[in-house]
C-alpha cells in the first residue's frame, strides 16, 4: 500500500511543474496550508468504477481534507461512520474535512448509481 503522502507527491509535483502559473498557484495552496500547519490535503479521483487512491491512511486525531473530483460522471462519496454523504460532480471539486478519531478501517462507497459495476465502487479510510 502506498502511503497517502507519497501518493500525493507522485501525483501533484510533476503536474505543477508543467502547468501554467495559475494552476501551479492553485495546486500549491494546499501544500502551503500543510506547511503552515493546516490540514493535509489528499486528492481523490472518482472514475467508474473505483476511487484513486483506493486507500487513505490518517493518524488518530489528524484532520485531513479529502479533495474529491470525478473524471467521468457524477459519483457519490458516502460513509455512515463519518456522516459523509457528498456528490462528486464532473468539472467540480468537492472538499470534505475528516478527523480520524477512532482507529479502524472504514469503507467509503459511491452511493450515486453510476453504471453496471457501481455496487463494487468503494475505498477505505484507515485511522491508525
Amino acid at each position: 500500500m502506498k502511503s497517502v503522502k507519497s501518493s500525493y507527491w507522485v501525483k501533484c509535483v510533476p503536474v505543477a511543474v508543467v502547468l501554467p502559473a495559475l494552476f501551479v498557484a492553485t495546486l500549491t495552496t494546499p501544500r502551503k496550508a500543510a506547511a503552515q500547519g493546516g490540514p493535509r490535503v489528499i486528492d481523490i479521483t472518482a472514475k467508474r468504477f473505483g476511487f484513486t487512491p483506493n486507500q487513505v491512511t490518517v493518524k488518530k486525531g489528524e484532520t485531513v481534507i479529502l479533495r474529491l473530483k470525478s473524471e467521468d460522471v457524477t459519483h457519490g462519496f458516502f460513509t455512515r461512520a463519518f456522516k459523509i454523504d457528498e456528490e462528486i460532480e464532473p468539472g467540480k471539486t468537492t472538499d470534505v474535512t475528516v478527523t480520524g478519531q477512532n482507529p479502524g478501517t472504514y469503507t467509503i462507497i459511491c452511493d450515486h448509481f453510476c453504471g453496471a459495476n457501481h455496487g463494487n465502487m468503494n475505498m477505505v479510510l484507515v485511522v491508525e
Partner: protein, 330 residues
C-alpha cells in the same frame, strides 16, 4: 367493543414456491363477532374487506446480465414463472421488487431487456403483476425508461382489504426516497386506521442492513417514522440477493432472494462478491425460502422463516445442469 389484539386480525404467511415466495394474507381468527366488526371497519378504511388471498414476491431478475455467477441467464426467472403457474392455489398478485433488468448505457439495449423481462413475465398466469424499479432499471435515467414501460415508480393500491404501497428508493440515483415521495406517503396513509394491514414493497432495505454494501436507504428512518404509527406493516424488498428477516420496532422486513445470483452473508465475509455458480446446484440460493406464521405461539403477527433447499430437486446434481443445458425449455 372489547379490547382485542388488533395485530391478530391480519397475518401474512408465506410458503416456498421453490423460487420466490408465496405469501398468504388471511384473517388470523374467524371473521365473526367483534373480529368481524373489526374487519368491517378495516373495509371501510381501505374500501374492501379483508379476505384470504395469496401473493408472490419475486425480485432481481437482472434480465440481460451476462457474467460468471450466472451462466444460465433468465433460466431461474423462467423457472419461477413455471412454478407460479403450477400452484394449486393461483395467487392474486405478483409483486416484483426491482432490478427487473440489468443496467446498460445503451438505451436501445436497455429497452430490449425490458421487453424481454415483460415477455417472460407475461407468461405468468396471474391477473395482477406490480413492480417497483431497482437501481439497474432506473438509476441512470431517473426512471424514464421504466415509466415508458411500466408507469409510475411509486403508487399504492388496495387489494381485498390490504393496502399495498410501492416505494421507489432508486430513481434519484442515490439510495433515497426523497422529500416529494415522503410527503406523498404521509398523505396516502391519512385515510387508514392504525390497525389497517399494510404491505410496503420496495427495492432497497429501508433500514441500515449493511451500508458499506449500499444495503440501506438514507432517508429510510423518515419512511419508517411515517409508517410506525401503523400496527400491521410488512415491508418486502430485494436488492441484497439473499434471505433476510428483520424486525425493526414492530415492523417486519423481509428480503427475497434474487433470480440471477446470490450474495453471501455480510457478517461472514468482508467482500461483496457473488456466491460462485455451482453447476451441481444451479438454482441454489436463488429465491428460495419458506415463510410461515409462528405456529403454536400467541398471535402477534410475527412470522418465522426457514431456509430450505428446494432448489428444483429434479435439477439438482450434475444431471440437473445437464438437463437444463440440453433442454432450454425446462
Amino acid at each position: 367493543m372489547k379490547s382485542v389484539d388488533r395485530r391478530s386480525f391480519m397475518k401474512i404467511a408465506g410458503t416456498s414456491l421453490g423460487i420466490g415466495v408465496l405469501y398468504s394474507a388471511f384473517p388470523a381468527a374467524s371473521a365473526q363477532g367483534e373480529v368481524g366488526d373489526m374487519f368491517g371497519l378495516l373495509g371501510k378504511n381501505s374500501g374492501e374487506k379483508v379476505s384470504p388471498f395469496t401473493f408472490v414476491q419475486l425480485s432481481d431478475a437482472h434480465v440481460g446480465f451476462n457474467g460468471p455467477p450466472d451462466p444460465l441467464g433468465t433460466k431461474a426467472f423462467e423457472r419461477a414463472v413455471e412454478m407460479i403457474n403450477g400452484l394449486k392455489q393461483r395467487p392474486d398478485l405478483v409483486l416484483f421488487t426491482g432490478d427487473l433488468t440489468h443496467d446498460t448505457e445503451d438505451k436501445d439495449v436497455h429497452a430490449q431487456r425490458m421487453k424481454q423481462f415483460l415477455e417472460i413475465s407475461k407468461g405468468m398466469n396471474v391477473a395482477v403483476v406490480k413492480h417497483v424499479p431497482g437501481e439497474h432499471d432506473a438509476g441512470l435515467d431517473g426512471g424514464t425508461l421504466y415509466r415508458e414501460f411500466l408507469g409510475e415508480t411509486y403508487y399504492s393500491f388496495d387489494h381485498r382489504g390490504v393496502h399495498f404501497i410501492a416505494l421507489d428508493n432508486v430513481s434519484r440515483a442515490k439510495p433515497e426516497v426523497g422529500p416529494e415521495q415522503l410527503a406523498w406517503l404521509k398523505k396516502d396513509l391519512e385515510r387508514f386506521s392504525k390497525s389497517a394491514p399494510i404491505v410496503v414493497f420496495t427495492h432497497r432495505p429501508l433500514f441500515d442492513l449493511k451500508p458499506e454494501w449500499e444495503w440501506f436507504t438514507s432517508d429510510g428512518d423518515d419512511v419508517m417514522n411515517i409508517l410506525s404509527p401503523y400496527e400491521n406493516v410488512t415491508v418486502l424488498y430485494g436488492h441484497i440477493h439473499r434471505d433476510d428477516a428483520h424486525e425493526v420496532q414492530h415492523v417486519h422486513h423481509y428480503a427475497a432472494r434474487s433470480l440471477i445470483f446470490a450474495f453471501p452473508d455480510p457478517e461472514k465475509t468482508p467482500q461483496k462478491k457473488p456466491i460462485p455458480f455451482d453447476k451441481d446446484q444451479p438454482f441454489r440460493n436463488l429465491g428460495i425460502r419458506l415463510v410461515h406464521e409462528n405456529a403454536g405461539k400467541a398471535a402477534t403477527g410475527t412470522l418465522s422463516i426457514d431456509d430450505v433447499e428446494l432448489t428444483a430437486r429434479e435439477y439438482s446434481g450434475i444431471n440437473g445442469i445437464q438437463q437444463l443445458l440440453k433442454n432450454p425449455t425446462l
